[in-house]
Amino acid sequence: MTLQLRAINKRFGERQVLHQLDLDVANGECVALLGASGCGKSTALRLIAGLDHPDQGSIRINGAEMVDVPAERRRVGMVFQSYALFPHLNVWDNLELGLRMRGGSAATRDERIRGVLEVLQLSGQARLRPSQLSGGQRQRVALARALLRDPLVYLLDEPMSNLDAQLREDLRPQLRRLMIGGEQPVVYVTHDQQEAMALADRIAVMREGRIEQIGTPRELYLQPASTYVAQFIGRPQMNLLPARDGVITGIRPDDLRLDPAGSPCTILSREWFGANQMLLVRCDRGDLRLVCPGETAIEAEPRISWPGTCEHRFDAVSGRRLPSDRLPSD
């Protein structure tokens, strides 16, 4: 384990932002911190970077305690949501600034900057100011700067939130090629579950300063530990049926099926996406989202059912997952 957080507590005034946070990220592993805004995920990242100081706890990189090492000597490569490029410097000078401050010969500097500009297809933009670049180009300059830092750990703080969906899809392979799966552990903060599923080896779903569940995307999808995780992972959202005998039943929209022998319902809305379509239907147990192939013909009053093995069961009070003998994997 090369990045190790132990029992981290952080409070801002009255608000406890992180409670006893533990996290391990191995070499070359990408862990996504996923959660709604205010859940503490960005704070966790700033603590690892050294931009904030934890109230208690330990942060180790390659076994070395980092809590009292100032940010400027921590060797982390961070990409900010705002990109944080210096507006008064052109692309080249933005990249050279750090290299210059950290020493080294001018010749090596030039060679390294030229190399990283080449890799990120920015060679033609070296003399432009950040304000003259597109969003995607700015984001790549920010990546280039993090690469040139020779970091022990990569920290990515919602690096793609300011880009449109198309650009995000284009940049994901680049991220994977350049940063993820190399030598360093990668911590990736996002509120976008799709991005987390696409990039991370493991996802830590955070809520109110605690990790609600951590595991591979597959584990989180198949066995969400709580209704919160269940609703955060997987799109469209898991259906949660109103509690019955203290138990909330959850069914994924793709586990519902149209079945002439099923229970009757009415269609509230229909969204067609080509390969598939989503129906919002009302039945006696509540409103449900249902996903089926795009070519399926839909009757005005369809009947639906779901296999019992696909049910997720949660405690109605705590929201925690209940053990279920019907799920073979449990």
């Binding site: 931009l51 100032p70 982390v76 900010f80 490029l85 507006p87 600034l97 750090g98 950290r102």
Partner: protein, 288 residues
């Protein structure tokens, strides 16, 4: 359409700025004093020839420039230090920020009167303090080599808060992420000041320089109340000289000439300054 929408603003500028300027220009080529029965009589370029040879005018121009340059430089340095301090997070910062602004909120006349009493010989507290320390009488307001420094002091006291306010706004416009990124690149706070803060603050520094130079070059009320231009004319400004010509000597033609000449000198100074900054590349961060 653009011109149409801008028309009301342009009209206003033309009426309150363009018209008086043209009127001054016209008047500067006329004799208009008690000798002409206060009627304008064209006199060719006589006013301008008189100005060129008027030692008092050129002395005043030098004094005004000295006052403006030195007081604005001091204000800028002080304001930068204060703004950096007020930008840090500390307990009671809000109250101190409000207090800092107070001198600027005071009418110039009131504050100049206050200073006149403080520096008064022999009753002012400074004078009393100096005497009790055995320094003898300082005569701060009646020693030509010192009195102009008192006007600089009073101006710095009053208008430093104005520049502080502009610079503080500038500091707050710099995103916190830039400082974080700079730190992670290995930079110390002192390096951040030089490489991040100052370059990004430059537009605000230049803006306040422009405001303050124009204002200081036209200084009138402070000098009029604090020293009346004395002793021996050592603190007389161009604006005060123009005022004396018009209001005391009732020579409106020459007063207009002095006023206009002051305006032209100021414009020339600002232009020269801009060109200088451009030539050393200081304005480069502004071309976005």
């Amino acid at each position: 359409m653009t011109m149409l929408l801008a028309a009301p603003a342009l009209l206003l500028i033309a009426v309150v700025f363009g018209w008086p300027m043209l009127r001054y220009a016209w008047l500067s080529f006329h004799a208009d004093s008690v000798l002409t029965g206060l009627e304008p009589v064209a006199n060719g370029g006589a006013n301008w020839l008189r100005l060129a040879a008027d030692q008092r005018f050129w002395l005043d121009a030098g004094q005004t420039a000295r006052f403006a340059l030195i007081s604005v430089s001091l204000e800028l340095l002080l304001a930068l230090a204060i703004a950096l301090l007020l930008h840090q997070r500390w307990r009671g910062r809000g109250a101190v920020r409000a207090l800092t602004l107070l001198p600027w909120a005071l009418p110039t006349t009131m504050m100049a009167l206050g200073w006149r009493w403080i520096f008064n010989t022999p009753y002012g507290p400074i004078e009393v303090l100096a005497r009790s320390l055995g320094l003898g009488s300082l005569d701060l307001l009646s020693t030509p080599s010192i009195t102009w420094l008192v006007t600089v002091f009073a101006d710095v006291w009053k208008t430093t808060p104005f520049i502080t306010l502009i610079l503080l706004a500038g500091l707050q416009s710099i995103p916190e992420d830039l400082y974080s990124a700079f730190r992670l690149e290995g930079g110390t706070p002192l390096q951040a000041l030089r490489r991040v803060t100052l370059p990004l603050l430059l537009p605000y520094i230049l803006l306040s320089l422009l405001f303050r130079l124009a204002q200081a070059f036209g200084v009138f009320d402070l000098v009029q109340v604090l020293t009346g231009g004395g002793p021996a004319g050592s603190t007389e400004s161009i604006a005060l000289y123009a005022y004396l010509n018009g209001m005391r000597f009732l020579d409106f033609g020459y007063s207009a000439t002095v006023m206009l000449a002051g305006f032209l000198l100021l414009t020339a100074m600002i232009l020269a300054g801009t060109l200088l900054l451009k030539s050393v590349g200081l304005l480069r961060p502004l071309d976005r």
